[in-house]
Amino acid sequence: METNAQESASLHVLERKVDALGEQLALLLEHQRRQQELIDEVLPILREIMRVGITKLDALEQRGYFAFAQESLHLLDALVVSTPPEELRQLGESLGRILRAVKALTQPEVLDMAAQAAQALQHPHAEDAPKGLLGMLKASHDDDVRRGMAVMLEGLRYLGKASVQASAPAEAPRAPRALLGARRLAAPQAAAPQPAPPRRAAAPPPAPAACAAPSQEGADPTWTEARAEEIARALGLGGLSEAHWAVIRFAREDFAAQGRSPNVRRLAQGSGLPIKEIYTLFPKAPGVMAAQVAGIPKPVGCI
């Protein structure tokens, strides 16, 4: 009897489980039905969206947007590859100026003017074109031509000014630069226009010694009066007279003052002796001989 009761109990449990399963199955079926309904409803809408989207994209494609984008990418790539970072930095620094310039260029009146100029370029009046120099002169009587010339001249003036500023040495590195070429000039500025080096290291005051460049050598530091006598004897001058010494002293003083050896004429002027006397005192190349005895470099120049 006991087993019978047990069996009926488990059967009951089983029955309940099957019931629950059936319910769940019904629920699931209901869900699926709803989903199917939803899909059935949404699909046409999606299709419509797809259709419209494709038409739109096709239209864009036909108008060249994609090709443009692709090319733009290439362009950007090329730009990135070819632009070193420091240039980009410079570009960023001058962005404000660029924008200002663009703004100035896109003022309506400027654009009008450009349009008119372009029109004139497209339809030149060949028959009106001035011929030769006289034609040019005649054309310059026209008021419009004059105004145009004034504008061009003014523009040239600014351009010139700006180019001077752009090439000025680094004293004013932040000075406003011209649109044109300024950035290009900015980089090699350090190496660019060095002020011309002084022509000679020790530039003496312009000495009145015609076409004579200063001597580059210095005076003999070991020179003494005794040494002068020795050199004079070696040159065949014999003993040095007071007149000789006047010339030698002047030559040394003048060399110290001017940085160049005096020529014959200057020796005569400085020592107060006539040229003839200089030639007698130092026969044969007196300028050179006097310089040798005085321990200074040979004089240079033509007089």
Partner: protein, 157 residues
């Protein structure tokens, strides 16, 4: 300048009287003397102006027909232009303290360069001996010139 050889010598012929034409002869002669070279200058034809007392201070520069002139020939030919060009050149020379032509002649004499006038040219130009500068050593003929120039290098300007 070696003493073993015969002394070097130059003979310079000055045949033109322009300021720019006279200076080369004068400067070359002076430079020769400054270098210890014997030098003499033979003044002939218009070169006589350089040793004529009344003309030596008024040597002109002819810009007309001179391709190196900064002035177009048409303008250079206008009256007074050579005087103007000469003044410009003279001013520049003064600025550089270059001696004047007269002074150059004096320097040459002091330096021992000898100056000769051409006899034929003097006859042709009707220049008398007393009109020449006192620094002129002598009046000679072309044949005398060759005699004097023996062993010399001849420079024609």
């Amino acid at each position: 300048m070696s003493e073993d050889h015969a002394p070097r010598k130059v003979a310079i012929i000055c045949s033109k009287g322009g300021l720019d034409e006279a200076y080369p002869a004068l400067i070359l002669a002076n430079a020769a003397r400054m270098s210890g070279i014997d030098a003499f200058v033979f003044f002939t034809f218009y070169g006589l102006d350089v040793i004529t007392a009344a003309k030596v201070d008024h040597l002109h520069v002819n810009m007309a027909g001179n391709p190196s002139s900064p002035m177009p020939t048409m303008i250079a030919g206008l009256p007074g232009m050579e005087r103007f060009a000469a003044k410009m050149m003279r001013d520049r020379m003064t600025e550089l303290d270059l001696p004047t032509a007269r002074e150059m002649i004096e320097i040459l004499e002091g330096a021992g360069a000898q100056l000769y006038a051409c006899e034929l040219a003097m006859t042709m130009m009707k220049v008398k001996r007393e009109e020449l500068l006192p620094q002129v050593h002598d009046v000679i003929t072309a044949m005398d010139f060759y005699e004097l120039a023996e062993g010399a290098q001849i420079i024609f300007t």
